[in-house]
């Protein structure tokens, strides 16, 4: 068990039901057709380790492997990406520290875009379905993944969530990752883009302190800008730090509560949502 953050096995739940151990990503997929509505709510995730024991040789020998440690996650991510691509689903993975205003941002984004295209949300938190409930209050379907002690969403959890969701063609999928600026950067979920949210109530040097996340993101949203008159936050310095770890990273300054910059963010979504263009035009 993790002595740092308490990560552990067997505690992931989707809409309050335990999530089973993952099959191999090369097994057949059973995605729900995007035409059959179904009640959805929350996933809890815990990945067990399949114990294998092959009868073998008694003599020591060397075996070349040459595989990325995240091969399995990346295979699941590619399956998710293929699914999104086949159905014209624009998936965004929202990452940030806890308290940056992700859910508030999401709620306001949904209100602005819900009449223009179908939207679905996957929420990731260690515990509770509070965020999913806030999303559902906007009239948009939301599925809650509770990672238990886990500190990030992985591609297999998203695969399981997709089996329970009814995603429509040519729609938007927001994945709100667990609030954590470290671990989610390493796990591809199959999204078109990672969008990192930094709020001005945090330090300007977050991009330097947590470079992996800002390097992995394709867009940075600088949130809570309405509070700038009351803070010593240096916007230009924050953006300069972000450029140091990710030269040319697009940045949108906004306030999810007051509305400034929200139109630019919505415009970015609408301009980049074509799945064929999304990975080639940015990042």
């Amino acid at each position: 068990m993790c002595t740092t953050c308490g990560c552990g096995n067997g505690q992931t739940h989707i809409n309050d039901k335990p999530m089973s151990a993952p099959p191999r990503p090369d097994q057949p997929m059973h995605f729900r057709s995007p035409a059959h509505p179904r009640d959805i709510d929350t996933i809890d995730s815990g990945i067990g380790i399949a114990g294998t024991h092959a009868p073998g040789m008694s003599r020591a020998r060397m075996v070349r492997i040459e595989r990325d440690i995240l091969t399995q996650n990346n295979q699941w991510a590619q399956r998710n990406r293929n699914y999104f691509s086949a159905h014209g689903i624009f998936a965004l993975n929202l990452v940030s520290s806890p308290g940056s205003g992700k859910t508030t941002l999401l709620v306001d984004t949904i209100v602005r875009l819900r009449d223009r295209l179908p939207i679905t949300v996957i929420e990731g938190d260690q515990q509770t379905d509070h965020d999913a409930a806030r999303i559902r209050a906007t009239g948009v379907p939301a599925l809650q993944i509770n990672t238990g002690k886990g500190c990030h969403l992985d591609a297999h959890m998203i695969d399981r969530a997709l089996q329970q969701l009814t995603l429509q063609h040519d729609s938007l999928l927001f994945i709100e990752n667990v609030g954590n600026l470290v671990c989610p950067s390493a796990f591809d979920l199959g999204e078109a883009h990672k969008v990192v949210i930094l709020s001005v109530t945090e330090g300007e040097d977050k991009p330097l302190k947590y470079p992996d996340m800002f390097h992995a993101a394709d867009l940075m949203l600088l949130n809570k800008c309405d509070l700038l008159p009351y803070l010593n936050f240096d916007v230009d310095l924050a953006i300069e730090y972000a450029y140091r770890v990710h030269p040319g990273l697009p940045v949108i300054r906004l306030s999810a509560t007051q509305g400034s910059g929200m139109q630019a963010w919505c415009d970015w979504i609408m301009a980049n949502r074509h799945p064929m263009k999304s990975r080639s035009t940015l990042g």
Partner: protein, 115 residues
């Protein structure tokens, strides 16, 4: 903090290899860890020991090969060694904005000693 997950992925790969190449015990594992990879080697070692208990890799030695970070500068056309994403190009005045990482982001399982 995600090193537990990485250690589990590592064990999955080892178990897959065990089924395919028919071995029943792993004595040593060689991993290549890039200098820029999102992993803390000491933490990975700790979790490797935890997740391999009662597995075919129980008490296997974990050898980590450090792969240095490298980048190419589009401003001056030269290659340079980097140890972070906010490194500066040592050859020109691009302030790091021209750098593209060419090596040091991967975490790869290289080979196993098995029996």
């Amino acid at each position: 903090m995600h090193e537990l997950s990485l250690a589990e992925h590592l064990l999955h790969i080892i178990e897959d290899a065990a089924q395919q190449q028919r071995f029943s015990r792993v004595k040593a594992v060689w991993l290549e860890i890039g200098e820029l990879a999102c992993v803390e080697p000491a933490s990975l070692r700790f979790y490797f020991d935890v997740v391999t208990r009662d597995s075919i890799a129980h008490q296997a030695a974990l050898h980590i090969i450090d792969i240095p970070g490298q980048a190419h500068c589009s401003a001056c056309g030269k290659h340079c060694a980097i140890s972070s994403y906010h490194a500066m190009c040592p050859h020109c005045s691009c302030s790091g904005t021209g750098l593209t990482v060419t090596q040091g982001e991967a975490m790869r399982i290289k080979e196993l000693e098995v029996e």
